[in-house]
């Protein structure tokens, strides 16, 4: 198979970028989209050009590193699939394919298709955790959790934090990400003590990082590689409203710890 790739090239966050066209031949229909970029990069290196920088890690759809807007859709045309699990048989031979990075003020471009997603880490640091005592592991099932609650928590916990929801949202909102984190812990007994504070802290952190707000377009749900539904956003709104009306105190968020570069 042969494709024309229209790829966003940008040297660093300060330089302006642009779309550049590349021809790539000899593509097998069994290749993943990232392998096509690998192939193109090998050609570029041979030609003495700079290879295209793009994020990837596990390449089996569970790490959330790949972050490509393919033909105008985060993670490409295949629903509930990450870009690394997207195979070229889903495209037609000779097609022109555009490849862009996630676009959001909170995700500045580092280089080409690589964006800085540490804003999501800082949101998590603001409250996306449960406080538990360390020590020996508790007995299994010492804390009864219904199957229904466990399933609900697991559905939310499937979020791999890739940021496709932000990329797809017309407002670059991280609401689905935040909602998944809030709903995951809210479904479990371990999440109850910090439940209302968590909703407040995560929403405030999301705003602080420069993500937009949800206006119920539901584009996030359509592109989420883990199929996380927008009903979790309703859950977030519910917990936030409850926190606004019922919680006794609103503590300030502890300052975010910046990871080593």
């Amino acid at each position: 198979m042969k494709f024309t790739l229209c790829v966003w090239r940008q040297l660093n966050s300060d330089e302006p970028g642009s779309m550049v066209s590349y021809e790539v031949d000899g593509v097998s229909e069994d290749m993943s989209f990232l392998e096509v970029l690998d192939l193109l990069n090998e050609n570029l290196v041979v030609r003495g050009e700079e290879p295209i920088a793009f994020d990837h890690d596990c390449r089996e759809g569970i790490c959330g590193m790949c972050a490509l807007v393919i033909n105008g859709v985060p993670h490409g045309p295949e629903p509930v699939t990450t870009a690394c699990q997207l195979h070229m048989r889903k495209f037609t031979d000779g097609q022109t394919i555009t490849v862009e990075p996630w676009r959001a003020a909170a995700f500045p471009v580092i280089r080409d298709l690589v964006v800085d997603r540490r804003s999501l880490d800082r949101v998590i640091q603001a409250g996306g955790f449960v406080s538990v005592n360390t020590g020996s592991a508790p007995d299994a099932n010492a804390l009864p959790i219904s199957k229904d609650a466990a399933d609900r928590a697991f559905e939310a916990a499937a979020c791999i934090g890739c940021g496709a929801c932000v990329a797809a949202c017309p407002n670059a909102s991280a609401s689905l990400f935040v909602a998944a984190k809030v709903a995951q812990f809210a479904a479990l007994p371990q999440g109850q003590p910090e439940r209302l504070q968590r909703a407040i802290h995560l929403v405030e952190a999301m705003d602080r990082e420069g993500f937009g707000g949800c206006t119920n377009h539901y584009e996030c749900e359509a592109v989420c590689p883990k199929g996380i539904p927008v009903s979790f956003i309703a859950h977030l709104n519910r917990d936030f409203l409850k926190a606004a009306l019922m919680s006794r105190e609103v503590r300030d968020v502890p300052p975010a710890v910046e990871a080593e570069e």
């Binding site: 807007v69 862009e100 676009r103 407002n171 929403v203 937009g212 584009e219 359509a222 519910r238 609103v250």
Partner: protein, 228 residues
């Protein structure tokens, strides 16, 4: 108090304000529509209803409340929209929407249309600027003849047409608005999502048909100056 101000300045808090004020405006729309329907019962009924409203001791309370709710709905939306635009400074060169609805995409636009229609409507039937000749009429009981004003106003095809068109666009705004009201208040559960979706369609269709029936039936001559 400071805590509430802080929480209602976040994006989710702003959304709650927009949802609640939007819900209040929706309730007003329903009440206004039912009141206007008295036009079909003849001049005495509509003029009596108008006189009752004007003389109601709480009329100014409701007027100020309505203006405040409306202003809050618009101002908070402006704040949210600005933040949302800031969140995506560089646009995609190619972006394909997967499931975004027509009504959600043009929410701000349909809101602006509703706002300009509201200004037109107030100038027309509340302040009597657009057709002053129909505004000063009185009926046999020396009441403001709202019936004659409305009926002669909607005889004009441009006036009747612009009302019908505006109400249709208001309907588009309401479809997304009313459905979003539930989501923003956290009312979303797989057991009743379908109920909410079709309930919203039913409600909005009812509002649109109810409002449109007035200019349409007057223009077609079904409702005439003589009453009935």
């Amino acid at each position: 108090m400071i805590r509430l101000v802080r929480l209602f300045s976040t994006s989710v808090g702003d959304k709650l304000i927009v949802a609640l004020t939007g819900g209040a405006l929706l309730v007003f729309l329903l009440g206004h529509m039912l009141g206007n329907m008295t036009v079909f019962q003849g001049p005495d009924s509509l003029n009596g209803y108008a006189a009752w409203l004007q003389g109601h001791p709480l009329v100014w309370f409701f007027r100020f409340g309505l203006v405040a709710v409306f202003v809050a709905h618009v101002l908070v939306t402006v704040r949210l929209t600005k933040a949302n635009r800031r969140a995506r400074p560089v646009r995609y060169s190619r972006r394909v929407a997967r499931q975004m609805s027509f009504t959600s995409r043009y929410m701000v636009l349909s809101g602006l249309v509703v706002m300009s229609f509201l200004a037109f409507h107030l100038l027309h039937l509340t302040f009597g600027v657009i057709q002053p000749e129909i505004y000063q009429l009185e009926d046999s009981q020396q009441r403001h003849d709202v019936y004659a004003m409305v009926v002669s106003g909607f005889r004009n095809p441009w006036i009747a047409g612009s009302y019908v068109l505006s109400i249709l666009l208001l309907g588009l705004h309401l479809i997304h608005g009313a459905a979003s009201l539930f989501q923003t208040l956290g009312i979303n559960h797989e057991s009743y999502t379908v109920l909410i979706r079709y309930g919203v369609y039913l409600l909005v269709t009812g509002i649109v048909l109810g409002y449109c029936s007035i200019p349409l039936l007057i223009f077609s001559g079904t409702v005439s100056l003589e009453g009935g």
